[in-house]
Amino acid sequence: MTFDLVSRVARRFTCEVTAAVIGLAACLLPAQAQELKIGARSDIVIDPHSSWAMSNTQYFYHYLGFMNWLDESDKVVPRMAKSATAVSPNLWEVKLNEGLKFSNGAPVTVNDVVASYERARTLPNAIGTFAGLFAGLKEMKAIDDLTMRVVTSRPYPTWPATMTQISVLPAEVAKTATQADFSSGRANISSSAYKFVEYVPANRLVVERNSAYVGPKARWDKVTFRILTNNATRVAALLSGDVDMIDGVPPEDAATIAKDPRFTLYTGPSDRIIMLAMDSSRDVSPFITDLQGNKLTTNPLKDVRVRRAMSLAIDRELIRDRVMDGHSIPNNQLIPKGLGGYAANIPEAKVDLPKARALMKEAGWADGFGIALACPEGRYVNASKICQAAAQMLGRINIKVTVEVMPYGVFASRVTNKTGDRASLMLFGWGASSSGEANVLQNAIHTWDKEQRLGAWNIGMYSNPEVDKLIVKGLSTLDAKERHAIQAEAMTKAMEDVAAIPLHTQVVIVATRKGLKYTVQANECTLADFVEPTSN
């Protein structure tokens, strides 16, 4: 009896020990490294069709299907789509890959794509609406389960890029889903490498590997995005080991992290450039004064020599070294190097004070003038610091700049109100993620034309018919190479005329713990499958 009890206890003990040993072994195996925790800088608007911004799309790329993707250098690459062919100037034929499945087991058909795009186009009250992407679209229809036809009223060369922006849901979900269905996850049916697990607002998004996905297997079993919008908090989370990596590393913390042997810093050019836009159209610009502060009756910025002098007065390398802690790439045009529409022949933008002063003198402004620089805060990296630096640099050619920092919302409503006072000098940024090429031209350089939907963000109201003609020509050129050449020509002309003063390309800064390698994405997305464990 006693013996029996002892043996029973012994047996149980052995079992427990065995279980513990197995558990321990499981812990020691590298398989444990299959969960990734990312400290992310932005929260999500969970309805995939209600807010068009790359900061949302980066999450959808994980757990929702897309026809195309943007690769790390903003090139369009097929994802669910097999091909997209321009049959005629106003007709795209898109083929879907065979055998694709949603995470609920249903096959992916063109009907799902059409219904999803229709939802993105028409979702009521979506303030960040996708509708702009469908301008000029006449019809989308399914020819069969795998073929979609897109008919437009004018040539739409960037349709493949448009398909990188809109997520695809099953048709019945796209037709009926409400906001609450996305929060609960019921409507988040994946045809991508991961699938939705949970979203806790302002806290975390969790996704796990989608076994139904037929493409390349997801790299991680589970990925948790911890939403940490505050810079210091995000950095602390990395330093304390709460997360494996963080995005949006503030430039001022980058050096400290890079020096720390426990972490690795990854940087690369973004597709966003920062520029100074100038009021070069009005005869009198409301925020330009003489040095005593009296309003001027002429607008010096109409003179290209003044604009050129301003560009020459700015030391972009100094801004990089002192303001951006080394994390910016001085630029001489409005599109980062390597993207479609980049003009290689534009001379480097170097500081040249004697020449700048000579130009000011030639233009009759040797004594200078006063101007207010409208500076949006909270959208671009170190915006107000860049403004301060630029103001001092312009001071060297006697342009007395007053920096007016304001929240982005105030800035945006003020400078885009075409009938209002707007501003005379503005800091402004433009990202090319939605097309991977110089769409800054039609949006911010072309003369404002409400009917043609051109120049909506031409906040300096710059106007140059010669440049306009090239931009319009580029918009209807289907062949990418040819189109990029036309864009580069327009860019060259615009830069010769100093349509705006390019400052630099922003840099994406990501930090990981040692043992992870990350490939930086030009579109500023943070994507789990570009994080690889390294051997050490």
């Binding site: 009521p124 009250n125 302002a202 806290n203 929240p407 409503s413």
Partner: protein
């Protein structure tokens, strides 16, 4: 009592109404939410359609009446950013904030009252003087600095506690709470300390002053003369009288903590209402701002009513007056 309660509720309703007017005027002068939220590449026609859909093209008084009509149906508006009901958005984040606020309150009372009592009873001891000196630090340190320092020391350098977030949660009454799991409790410690340090100092000083004031009073002397044990004198007679100002202050502090723990929540990535409101202000999400302030006013009024009821229970004089 009931008449008084009804009067209170009317007052609250009026305050809420007045506040919505102020907020409405306030938010409408600080920029255009459409400009910040719409994609830069959206055309002018989408823009105009949206402005009309959100009634932003109407005069402000008309917008206000549309809002009031919604309120009567229990609809405080749809968030511009999240495209979901503002009220729901705030309510889902409320438990996190309430949990943090009550944790801070608990700390401030359980630490502040005994320490204050000690300092009041033995004002000349070295320990008391040390406590009083430290308490100066308690209410002069700004929370953002304190929070960051705590994170630096306990999370980054020592690695004892997590730096941010709520950690694991468990469900109680259909709501997720952090304090029910060990991991969640660990996450709660640093933000709760950050929020409570000021309050501990405040309660401590209040209690100390109260004790110093009450001890020489006649009823205490009488109790002593009657030969009551010192323990009973302090715990029943002194402490009960002390609690009246403490309850008032703690009540107000609780309200402020719930409404405005913005900084602490931001530093610790605590997914509460404070973080929501600051994000909403940044993105000019008017419905959320208005709904948030309506809820906060209601909250303050409720707390005030509760404080008044506590008076009622603590102070016999109030009871006599009411009768």
């Amino acid at each position: 009592m009931i008449f008084w309660l009804i009067q209170r509720l009317f007052q609250a309703a009026f305050v809420v109404l007045a506040m919505t007017v102020i907020v409405f005027i306030g938010v409408s002068v600080i920029g255009d939410p459409v400009a910040i939220l719409i994609s830069p590449e959206a055309g002018p026609d989408e823009r105009e359609r949206l402005i009309a859909a959100l009634y932003l093209d109407r005069p402000i008084w008309e917008q206000y009446f549309i809002f009031l009509k919604g309120v009567l149906r229990g609809d405080l508006g749809i968030s511009f950013v999240y495209n979901e009901p503002a009220l729901g958005l705030i309510l889902t984040r409320m438990p996190a904030t309430l949990e943090l606020a009550f944790a801070a309150l608990l700390l401030s009372v359980t630490i502040g009252v005994p320490l204050g009592l000690y300092c009041g009873l033995y004002p000349d001891s070295v320990v008391s003087k040390a406590i009083m000196t430290i308490s100066i630090v308690g209410f002069s340190l700004p929370t953002f600095w304190l929070g960051l320092m705590l994170v630096l020391v306990f999370s980054v350098h020592l690695g004892w506690l997590p730096s941010n977030g709520r950690g694991d949660t468990a469900e109680l009454f259909g709501i997720q709470w952090s304090f029910l799991t060990l991991n969640g409790l660990k996450h709660l410690i640093l933000p709760a300390i950050t929020l409570s340090l000021f309050k501990i100092a405040l309660v401590l000083r209040l209690v100390r002053a109260g004790v110093r004031e009450t001890l020489p009073l006649e009823y205490v002397r009488f109790a002593r003369a009657k030969g009551l044990a010192p323990k009973r004198i302090i715990s029943v007679h002194v402490l009960k009288n002390l609690m009246i100002p403490v309850v008032t202050v703690v009540g107000i502090e609780l309200g402020t903590t719930i409404a405005f723990s913005v900084v602490t929540e931001t530093i610790f990535g605590w997914p509460g209402m404070g973080k929501l409101i600051i994000d909403s202000i940044n993105s000019l999400d008017r419905p959320v701002m208005v709904a948030y302030l309506v809820i906060i006013v209601l909250l303050f009024t409720t707390i005030n009513v509760i404080v008044d009821i506590l008076y009622f229970l603590l102070d016999p004089r109030v009871r006599i007056q009411a009768d």
